[in-house]
Amino acid sequence: MVWRLSGGDPAVAEAHGDLDLDPMARALGASNDHRDPVVEETVGARQAGEDRFRMLIHHTPTPLWYVDARDAGEVFERLRAEGVTDIAAHLDAHPELVEIAKDIVLVTEINRAAVALFGAGAATDLIRPVRYLFAATPDMAKRVMVAHFEGRRNYVEQARMATFDGRVRDVVFSVTYPAPPEHLDTTFITMEDITERLRTEAQLRRLQADFAHAARVSMLGELATSIAHEVRQPLAAIVTNAETGLRWLAREEPNLAKARELIGRIAASALRANDIIQRVRSMAAKQEPERLALDLAEVVDEALHFVRHDLDAQGITLLRVDAGELPPVVGDRVQLQQVVVNLLVNGIQAIAQANARERRIELKIDVDGTDAVTLSVHDTGPGVAEADLGCVFDGFFTTKDTGMGIGLSICQSIIAEHGGEIGVTNHPAGGAMFRVSLPVGDDARPGG
């Protein structure tokens, strides 16, 4: 254990792999076995309270670092004197300052949990300049310095720690700067190991994505006729244009200009067919959900390609109303498309199954205040029975002749994953109305 006691130099004592011993006994042993003069100085009633406090800190399950940042503080004073106000820009211009700080800011004390987190053989491994704390997240050092310079009391960031036994842990890294700021020898850092939590969350997300993917594939199966029709249109144009081109070429005086024009159209139609196949492929593909800034109107445009034919086949008119400029939402394009297709297919089936006289689906995209974009799908089907309103989003709930009842439950989990909401009501004018609300996102973060 290493405890720098009041005012003196760090007192160094090795913890000989005894972390599994009764903590109380070991802590007491540590102060008795080593007849260090500095330690002996602490013996006395005045020190008893402080000892107990230190023991508490030592055994607390939160990894804890005491840091002496006085030298860094001096550097900051000098910078202020030189007139530096925008510290972030200054550090960008002088990255060497960050590197220096990593070496002059010293860890002075640590607790048991810190040793365990870093898989250190000996506690002394951790008593050294703070550089090792930034090994896996090097950029964080600058941000910690900026917060310090700006006089903030705390700085918290999710970071990764490279441990001494070669692992990488995800932690919530918190720095508490001392008050008053001149006591820079009492800066302390705590970490919460969230590796397991993140892993569990990632697993859940993967499970959700797998489930969404399975539902998507099954949905594509149902839409096979529609998709085939979509592909067949450009193919039909290609066949006719090719044969017409051959006719022009077979003339006594071949009409090359016509043939050229027709070949151009053939290429355009072929590309269009390819686009459709590409869309289907991305729907069918199993890929990590992305987080991109998306225009919901575009997502709807793409989704319509999958259902347009079903709408026509059922003689259903689609009425689409878009609010002008839409702020972007952040999410996975394919998953949001899936939601739109699902809601539309749901409406089409409701109208078809009830053999409704009026056959119309109204799709409306709107903004809700400044922080949400909404999508509503209102069909002229029979609506949802009052008793069922509460459970349409439950897995395996269905009133359809065919279908597993996973579509809407998937929609709900996708929308929830996007931080949004989905609900259903019966429209006063008849029919069901599904409403999705997605938060406006100004940041597009990569990864899940």
Binding site: T244, R265, T317
Partner: protein, 228 residues
């Protein structure tokens, strides 16, 4: 070259100076721009005039030109479907022959379309020769229909010249009744019946009783009654 002549033949039966009004025009209605443009190009490559529309509504709103020809319709389109249009045309008395195109011709729809007088029911992608054969058949059918309609119009004009009594006699003759039966029914002499008959023959420009009866029968029932 053979192809071209073959497919221009329906048009070429009309004297070249008969004007645009007798040149066949094929209307194409398909919501897919690539497809309708390709079909129009194909027809134009064999010298058949074509006009393409994105929807039946667009076509109907474009103003109908009275030219022989036929329709090529995608059976399933947004808004009113091809089959709806077919019914509409039949009701409106302009039963233009229709060639249906479809991505997936299901049997009930085919049956329905053929019953309503479709020339053909072709699946996409359609081969050029198949389509051109159907178009030729469609144009020919329309030509016959139009010729018949012209004959009916001419007969109606002639019919208008008959007196009510002559028309009565004509109706009875067409039913196959003998002069004496007609005389008895109408309460007139057989000589008078004979006189009416010869007037009817002359006014209807019929050279035989058979021709007279065919002309009468060509006139739709409703029109015969309205005028009598």
């Amino acid at each position: 070259m053979d192809q071209e002549q073959r497919y221009q033949s329906p048009g070429s039966t009309t004297p070249a100076d008969a004007g645009l009004a007798e040149r066949p025009l094929v209307r194409i209605v398909d919501d897919d721009p690539d497809v309708r443009m390709a079909l129009a190009e194909l027809l134009e490559s064999v010298g058949i005039d074509a006009a393409a529309f994105a929807s039946t509504r667009e076509w109907l709103e474009s103003g109908l030109v009275d030219r022989p020809g036929c329709l090529i319709l995608d059976v399933r389109m947004p808004g009113s479907s091809g089959l709806d249009l077919q019914h509409h045309l039949v009701r409106s008395g302009d039963p233009k022959p229709i060639i249906f195109l479809t991505g997936h011709g299901d049997i009930p729809m085919t049956v329905q379309a053929m019953k309503a007088g479709a020339v053909d029911f072709l699946t996409k992608p359609v081969r050029d020769q198949t389509l051109l054969d159907a178009v030729a058949a469609g144009i020919e059918r329309d030509r016959v229909q139009r010729a018949n309609a012209n004959a009916v119009r001419r007969h109606l004009d002639l019919l208008a010249v008959l007196t009510p009594r002559e028309r009565q006699v004509l109706a009875e003759v067409a039913r196959g009744r003998l002069n004496k039966q007609i005389a008895f029914d109408l309460g007139i002499s057989q000589i008078t019946v004979k006189l009416h008959r010869s007037n009817v023959m002359r006014k209807m420009q019929a050279s035989s009783v058979g021709e007279l009866i065919r002309a009468w029968e060509a006139i739709p029932q409703a029109l015969r009654e309205r005028r009598s």
